[in-house]
Amino acid sequence: MIPGLRPLKNSGLWGILALLLGASGGVAAEMAGAAQFHKDIQPILTEYCFDCHGDGEKKGGVAFDEFTSDQSILTNRDLWWNALKYLRAGIMPPDKKPKPTDAEKQLLAKWIKTEVFGIDPANLDPGRVTVRRLNRVEYRNTIRDLMGVDYDTSVEFPADDTGYGFDDIGDVLTISPMLLEKYVAAANTIVAQAVPTVSRMVPETSIAGSHFHEAGAAPPKRERETMLSLPFYKPATLAANFPAPHDGSYELTLNLATKGEFDFDPAKCQVVFKLDGQPLLEKEFGWDNTSFPFHFDQKLTKGNHELTFELHPLKTAPGETNTLIMRLVDVGIRGPTEPQFETKPKNYTRFFPRDTVPSGASERREYAQEVLRRFATKAFRRPADDRMVSRLAALAESVYQQPGKSFEAGVAYAMQAVIASPRFLFRIEQNEPTTSQQGWAEVDEYSLASRLSYFLWSTMPDEELTRLAAHGELRKNLAAQVKRMLADGRSEAFVDNFTGQWLQARDVQGISINASAVLARDDGTEKQREEQFAAIQARQAERAKAAAAGGTNTARRVPGQRREKGTPPSFFKPRFELDGETRAAMKNETEMFFASVVKEDRPVTDLIDADYTFLNEKLAKLYGLTNLNVTGSEMRRVTLPPDCERGGVLAEGTVLTVTSNPDRTSPVKRGLFVLSNILGTPAPPPPPNIPALEASEHNFTNTPTLRATLEMHRNQPLCASCHNRMDPIGLAMENFNALGMWRDKERGQPIEPSGKLITGESFKDMRGLKHILVTNHRTDFYRCLTEKLLTYATGRGLECYDVETVDKIVRDLEQNDGKFSVLLNDIIASAPFQKQRNQANAVFADSSESSANSSDRRIVANNQSQP
């Protein structure tokens, strides 16, 4: 066992004693480890590795016989970690070289894990995750669940920095003054929106635009309350009903907004708004971008009333732009306004449990404490202590004691402090008290509840999790809770955020792919396309010149004119476009596909090779799957024909586009993507001064295919060592262009997808490749996916002592057909998820942080503690 990983009590005599014991034990262990190296390990290395990594050879900067001392054999963890990865992935020793036997491999792996990494399989080191700030997705979801309002953090907060490919890494999530300023401002806005500041008010409801339906038809079933967008050019008569609870005075507010594009549009329309058939408003609207609230005071009788909204087109210019939209945002209904009908405001009981606020000063204070204790406990995801509660109540009191301020306003103010507090913004964890000398312990149940909920829901624990944690019963009921959580709609967040980052599915929404350039390349018409563009530019330049000479300003476009006359529309409108709908459909495909593996508890290898996917009409068309009878915009599960190359994430639009360049596919990027995210053995980054592929094209007399160019590229030995790993994989995917469409040709020449992996397996095409990935490389994929999911779940990069945690999960997957539930439950049961190093240990581990360049700070700390 490595002494650095031993518990160190930082107090008095015990500390010194522990240090001495730990150190002497460590030295003994170290000697044993080195002895075993000389006895068992060195012979294996000499036999299989020294051709390139010993006896003076040092390929890739790696040699196994240049240790300066026995100790340095064991402290060079990065070397051994990489050796283990390459050995197990079959990359080393390379193809055609003699390979160690399974027994030798196991011996090597065991020695590395036990002697170098100091792993005790019976008592795995959980490591320690740095306190995690809520990222902007988690913040938004937490606010939604805590406050009942949607605060759009994707607009209001800057993007979070990422590390290890994910945006929930504690070490990387920082706070700057600007961000804190935003948090404080957000607390203000959110509380103002969510928390009522009066006990009673005139009832208010609203009817969203989406509730309006064609007069006479049944009301639509809509998931979301949203506005209704109506074109200026189409007559519409819509209606909605609402009940008036009492006879009385009501105030109706019709909220409209018009939306026009930059270019002038002469169209006009008339809107007629009626209550029970009586017109309240008749008005004309034109080209503008404005919101219009209209108020109407009405006496209503108890019972149902009908609102009618009519839109009459007045003036249109046919063939023009037709861009004007009338938005029926909503209709607000306030009333009855008579005092006797006042009710509790919306959301009142969410924050204030009692019907009335007591009047005495001490009773009020007591009530404020009650309300704020409940709120802060929820917000902090663990009980708020008495000191915190009384401070919060004092803050509330300082406000509600002021003249004209309500009790609720005071409490709301204190709630702002709660939401701006570090206890809300950070996930502060605690360990269960422990008397053992291990140096780590289980995290307490509140921490566990948060770990679960942020992992599977990207939000705070709900009442059930919190209740179980409060009673110390969460660990006992873990399996049932995980099942419940996965069945809950909030688990969509897990699918979105994990696939969004692991497979980069998020990026499909923003990536720029030039459809016409991509299609021109497939068709072999790139030159024509460029000439076309040059001609347009020349024409525009000429026109600008002429205009400048003539003194007229042509910079402003003539209203209604969309583009240069005479430009071939094909140039601007390629056959397919990666428009918003297509991008959304692609992202949905990946998410729904992953979700199906989760929900149906399928083997995770289905993620690579499956006979089904999720499509809508648009996506099916893009994929060329037109004979599957997929119509409409709704995504649905589709069984793929037996000979189909689709199925699995590597044949999905998301992965295919995000691994492409803006104008063409990139077999290198695709190969690297598979190495990094499927096989878990990323190729090292390229050395500087590497030319882009296009540069090599000039060595050809005709226009070469990507395959031909890449082959040329690979001729250089320096490039070959890594490109032989990436390129065959990427080239197998060449039948899919940068838009994710199927193609048989590139630059007019047939695509040749066959190839051979560096590990020796040959394949004919994408189907063959997928088959090899899920058979020969199944273990690699299990390991890779486990590492990714563990990183996402724990919020930290993996360290070498995590290797056994991962291996254990991989073994379980092997024995259980790779079922997703095995992976998920194992991760949740793993040491890094269940436990945490104690703080004292963390201090120890971080003590060498100032030496920023040490490759493994824990080892440095360990060395320093040697007597």
Binding site: T130, V131, R133, V155, E156, P158, A159, D161, T162, G163, G165, D167, G170, D171, V172, T174, I175, S176, P177, M178, L180, E181, A185, N188, E261, F262, N289, S398, Y413, Q416, P422, Q504, D507, S512, N514, A517, F533, A534, Q537, G580, E581, R583, A584, P662, D663, P684, P685, P686, P688, P691, S696, R796, G797, Q839, A840, A842, V843, E849, A852, N853
Partner: protein, 455 residues
């Protein structure tokens, strides 16, 4: 079961942008701007003199050297192709050859020149190669300056970005994305995330709501924040004392941030807000060019109203692979810069360089047309540095960096020249700029070896 994707609000944004610019125009033309001058008396070093402002504008992937550097040094240099848009301003900027950022070289860290170029540009110290567990850069020059003179304005510094879309996954060869996306570093492990949303920049500077309301809104909000900040500070302080290692570091960041906001509020109580005539701009325009322009407008407003004197702007993050369809370039910028001397590809990169330079020219022109409190132009009283941490993007070189310094620094600079230095750390220029910002006693910055004398 699936959510609908966001609606594209670009047309609306365009519309608002037009309105906003109209407002901004009015602001610039405002003849009574000088009447704002007395407000600046408090804290300013000399009442009659306008303050010097400093901004660093970063463009990624280098600039094609052959079209950037003039042939001849001195004052009579012929403007090279990429700098043509700056023709009218030729006596208002200087080009400095020979500056280098050796911290961005691979050294033992191997690949990752883009992350390094961006991550070391303003710090002059090597960054630690890590995907996240132990991010370590240096303090950037803008923050060094802000820490000394930031108390003179309502905002010590402003960090802006036009690169709002983050890529999922890794950023560059094992470097955390924090390096490429943050120019400003307050400490070795605390980057200052830049704001990409023009509307939020404006509201942060001048408050929310209509022109008449916003100053009151800003004041009211600041007053309200007072006791909340006290409260959370007290709590964070108590928590931080119980923590150790990296946890403590995170709470430290929180605490220093609270302190800075408190100081800012305290300053704001002394320093009245110069409320511009312009309306708040819309959010992020769909078009990149529009985004850059709006951000430049925000920067100009911030300087004009003396809300801050120090700013950084990441026009695009290092390694950016953005396409420029508006000028017919379908390939990504980064891909193109690896051109291997292919004239066609070089030509396309030049077009991109020129496109960026046009936007720079537009900004400098506006700065030049805006009068400062002392009657000089805002540009005259500023030091606007424009450049990249890569020189030749094809080979990832970090010597002879493209660096343009616009403005007279309040009369302390000699623009209108092309000077050549011999392999001088970029940080030497930063020291010289810091001097002119009124920073005293700064002996070193990063790898500096002295001051750059001839600016």
């Amino acid at each position: 079961m699936k959510k609908s994707h966001n609606q594209n609000l670009a047309p609306l944004a365009n519309m608002n942008r037009r309105r906003f610019l109209r407002g901004l125009g009015a602001c610039i033309a405002l003849p009574t701007f000088a009447s704002l001058a007395p407000m600046r008396l408090l804290g300013a070093p000399a009442a009659t003199k306008a303050p010097v402002r400093m901004a660093v504008l970063y463009v990624p992937n280098g600039i094609i050297p052959s079209a950037w550097w003039p042939e001849q040094a001195g004052a009579d240099f012929a403007l090279p192709a990429t700098l043509q848009p700056l023709e009218k301003l030729r006596d208002k900027f200087q080009l400095i050859a020979g500056l280098q950022d050796l911290s961005a070289n691979p050294g033992p860290d191997g690949a990752g020149d883009h992350a390094r170029a961006g991550g070391t540009f303003l710090t002059g110290v090597r960054i630690k190669k890590t995907a996240g567990s132990d991010i370590h850069a240096g303090v950037s020059i803008d923050q060094v300056v802000a820490q000394r003179i930031g108390h003179l304005t309502r905002f010590p510094s402003l960090e802006l970005s036009c690169d709002s879309v983050r890529k999922a996954g890794d950023c560059d060869s094992g470097y955390s994305c924090a390096y490429a996306y943050n120019l400003a570093w307050r400490s070795a492990n605390q980057p200052l995330t830049p704001e990409p949303n023009p509307r939020l920049v404006f509201e942060r500077l001048f408050g929310t709501g209509s022109r008449d309301e916003r100053i009151n809104n800003l004041k009211r909000r600041q007053q309200e924040q007072h006791s909340i900040l006290d409260f959370v500070m007290d709590d964070a302080d108590a928590m931080q004392k119980k923590m150790s290692g990296r946890d403590k570091q995170k709470l430290d960041q929180y605490l220093t941030s609270v302190r800075e906001i408190e100081q800012r509020i305290e300053r704001a109580e002394r320093m009245p807000v110069n409320n511009p005539a312009a309306d708040a701009p819309p959010g992020i325009p769909a078009e990149f060019g529009g985004h850059i322009q709006l951000m430049f407008d925000m920067l100009l407003l911030a300087f004009q109203t003396d809300s801050t004197r120090v700013a950084t702007m990441l026009i695009a993050a290092e390694g950016s692979n953005r396409t420029f369809t508006e000028i017919g370039i379908a390939e990504g910028h980064h891909n193109l810069t690896h051109h291997r001397n292919d004239p066609e590809l070089i030509g396309k990169v030049k077009q991109i360089d020129l496109w960026y330079a046009k936007h720079l020219a537009g900004f400098l022109q506006k700065m030049d047309e805006t009068k400062d409190v002392d009657g000089n132009s805002l540009l005259h009283n500023s030091m606007i540095m424009y450049g990249s941490g890569n020189a030749d993007g094809n080979r990832h070189t970090h010597t002879n960096l493209p660096v343009l310094l616009a403005g007279n620094g309040g009369g302390t600079l000699s623009p209108g020249r092309y000077t050549q230095t011999d392999s001088t750390p970029l940080t030497n220029l930063f020291l010289s700029m810091a001097d002119r910002m009124g920073v005293q006693g700064l002996e070193r910055h990063g790898d500096s070896t002295g001051r750059l004398k001839s600016v």
